[in-house]
Symmetry: C2
Subunit: 456 residues, 2 copies
């Protein structure tokens, strides 16, 4: 575990690449090498050393490095990577990140041998993007100026491409990230190592996993159960159909399982399953920002009728229920907001602004028959202004034990409300369906917890 | 039908509102009135007359209008609306759009009586947003400066809120719209009238419908079948769960049906069903821009491995198949792109740019065993540049009979590629799942067509 810590928290990092080698088809190129140097210089707080294998003095430079680097990032084709990896191991580097792929079985073996001989840990090969740690600015990706903001989500991706998709989402929508790890071919560091590390990592609150195949299913399930007791795991599984699974074999050299097997394994492991990249992050945001959903009963409060009806359908479809409001709540709202028809979903009508929302949300969240809340606040066709959304966050603070999710309309309305709510910890979604799935994930997490506790 | 034409294509429009009445809870307000005037002046090409019921001369002004307006938009509370509607009918107005809701049964009756007496057609009450026609700039919505670009999608929404959501999406993502109609309480003009009108409307290529309840199921199904022979209908149904259906009754005074009933009715009618607002428009874009999908066999061409595997899963999940490429195609690609492993999904590897895409896409689309294509072109973690996407549109032109959808990563990558592809007619989605659903809709449409043809 000590070495996995150094994967994310090295004191010194060595970057090994070539200013000349340009693979015909593949990832090694002077541009990639330059871009990683650029990002590391821009973001990383520790010390960075660089070796360019094309520079005769560069090759000898291993001995000249003043302090032994904890972590080396190798950006070279397979044979050159193996050669440089051995030199790194020889001078005492503790962890290697191997960017490029295309390894043949004997080349994999050569890398694996280094681990045995030197005890060095290896992430990859074929990680493509390596690692990101938003706390110390470690960023071995080659996308210039791409760095997510700090937050509680840590991502493990077997695929560089899916990881890069998730990184693109996170950066575009301001989703807070703790760490990113791109596993690639998993010759050494694997899902289990990273899950365990994130379980104990103080900055990680929720773990997102993109996985294609798994070597040892039983160990994975046991490890996941252990992690889930402390932090939720959400997973997106690639290669669940026979057709896609065939492709997985050539992509990351692992065996994928059928949809049914995956569902059963995830259920046992206590992992919440996502539909696509967006769904994975949507659910993660809720799990980081909101308390667990302790029961099935959801209240919907909206300034429009139709979307509230779609929200009610979505809540039911996600195995939740519409809360039956108590008489006390109904009377409280009727007294203070005459004209509002107090049936869940509650339609506050199009002219509702911060004040009416505050009164009704507070009444609803005070009702013991309500476990969680979906708020809909459209701008278009309504009188609601973006700054009115602050009121939702203010009421939420008075009810920290009940989760709240928010839904404006999907385009410009969504972006404007997101701008206001982003820093308040109220997750914001662009359709009621996505918000209901987020509430569903909060409920699942709470049920998984109860089940694992009873199994202890 | 003539009068429904005037709903979208009036020569003169009369706007009737009040500069004083502000309902406590409801939609009538001087601001709404002012905003509708603002939009009509800004966008509408025809002549606009205005009557402010607070202005003594305004009330008498009906006689002063130089030409009888074809269409009147009434922005007043129920009793005032009924009064002004009658005056409109008396001077020969052909169609009324009644914005505000809150009508009691006897008030509804009073409106319905106008139709009987004068033959006037009525959209609403409770339409909230009224109508939009991007061809002549007619825009009775009260969202200032909100006007979608011209295009082939026409929207019918029973709910003002859901319609406004769709309008927000369309404007934010530059989705081309022909017409918008917000039906509200459907005292007169209903789904069937509008479906039939859009069937014959030259600007409408695909119809999107948000519906809560339907009065006469059999007539609706028959009418839809008739329309679908000419143009696809996509529908989002609100109130499919018992809980939400209860709310529908108070929202738009109609009866909603269960999920199973809805599915059966839609299947019979030839309507393609959407999951949420985003899904509705995502599928509509594909139906407007791409040819029908004549078979199940999809090729996937990608510059990243993981997302291509998710795409393969998504294709299968949406009742499609992965195309088995012919030997000719495989050899053609292997000869011209050494290093590319020609198995569907085809991984072009991260350094693929316009040229490699062009070669492979052309080969794949020339293959008779391929019916449709999903292209994945990420920017992050790859060498692809936004302008390379033009090559996809160029190849597509050579194969106009096979549909193509495109998937970059979901955040900034998506917006950058959308910017390039928007005008080319290649639909762009932010996850492979959504792209696969769009292909699924193209396939469904083609199957529905075949079935309805055989029933003739």
């Amino acid at each position: 575990m000590a070495n996995i810590t150094l994967l994310f928290n090295p004191n010194n990092v060595l970057l090994v690449g070539s200013s000349k080698i340009q693979e015909q088809i593949g990832m090694t190129s002077p541009q990639l090498f330059e871009s990683v140097l650029y990002n590391m210089r821009k973001y990383y707080e520790g010390t960075t050393y660089t070796i360019d294998t094309e520079d005769a003095r560069g090759i000898r430079a291993y001995e000249d490095i003043p302090n032994t680097p904890d972590l080396a990032v190798i950006m070279l084709p397979p044979n050159a990577s193996i050669l440089q990896s051995e030199r790194c191991a020889a001078i005492g580097v503790k962890v290697l990140v191997i960017i490029a792929g295309g390894y043949k079985p004997d080349q994999r073996k050569a890398l694996a041998k280094l681990k045995e001989e030197y005890g060095i840990r290896i992430l990859g090969p074929n990680t493509i993007m390596g690692v990101i740690n938003t706390t110390n600015g470690l960023n071995t990706t080659f996308e210039r100026d791409v760095m997510p903001i700090k937050g509680g989500i840590s991502v493990i991706s077997q695929s560089g491409g899916v990881g890069a998709c998730l990184l693109d989402w996170a950066c575009s929508y301001g989703i807070g990230v703790a760490k990113f790890a791109f596993m690639g071919d998993k010759i050494d560091v694997n899902d289990i190592d990273l899950l365990r590390y994130f379980r104990d990592d103080a900055d990680t609150q929720t773990i997102c996993l993109y996985m294609e195949g798994i070597e040892d299913g039983r160990s994975f399930i046991e490890a996941a159960q252990e992690v889930v007791r402390k932090k939720p795991i959400l997973a997106l599984k690639g290669g669940v159909t026979a057709e896609a699974a065939r492709r997985v074999l050539s992509h990351t050299a692992s065996i994928a399982g059928s949809d049914t097997i995956v569902n059963a394994a995830f259920r046992k492991a206590g992992i919440i399953r996502a539909i696509d990249e967006e769904d994975l992050l949507n659910m993660a945001i809720a799990l980081v920002q909101q308390p667990p959903l302790s029961g099935d009963n959801i209240a919907i409060v909206s300034n429009v009728g139709g979307p509230a009806i779609l929200a009610a359908d979505a809540v039911i479809r996600n195995q939740l229920r519409l809360a039956k409001l108590s008489e006390v709540t109904i009377q409280k709202i009727e007294r203070r907001c005459p004209g509002v028809d107090v049936v869940n979903p509650i339609d506050l009508i199009a002219d509702a602004r911060a004040e009416r929302y505050s009164i009704v949300l507070d009444a609803v969240l005070s009702d013991p028959s309500v476990d969680g809340l979906m708020v809909i606040n459209m701008l278009k066709s309504c009188f609601f202004e973006p700054e009115d959304a602050i009121a939702i966050a203010e009421v939420a603070k008075q009810h920290p034990d009940k989760p709240i999710v928010d839904v404006p309309a999907g385009g410009e309305d969504f972006m404007r409300i997101l701008e206001v709510l982003r820093s308040t910890g109220i997750p914001t979604y662009n359709t009621p369906e996505k918000a209901a799935r987020a509430l569903g994930a909060l409920r699942q997490h709470s049920k998984i917890h109860e089940r694992l506790k009873s199994q202890r």
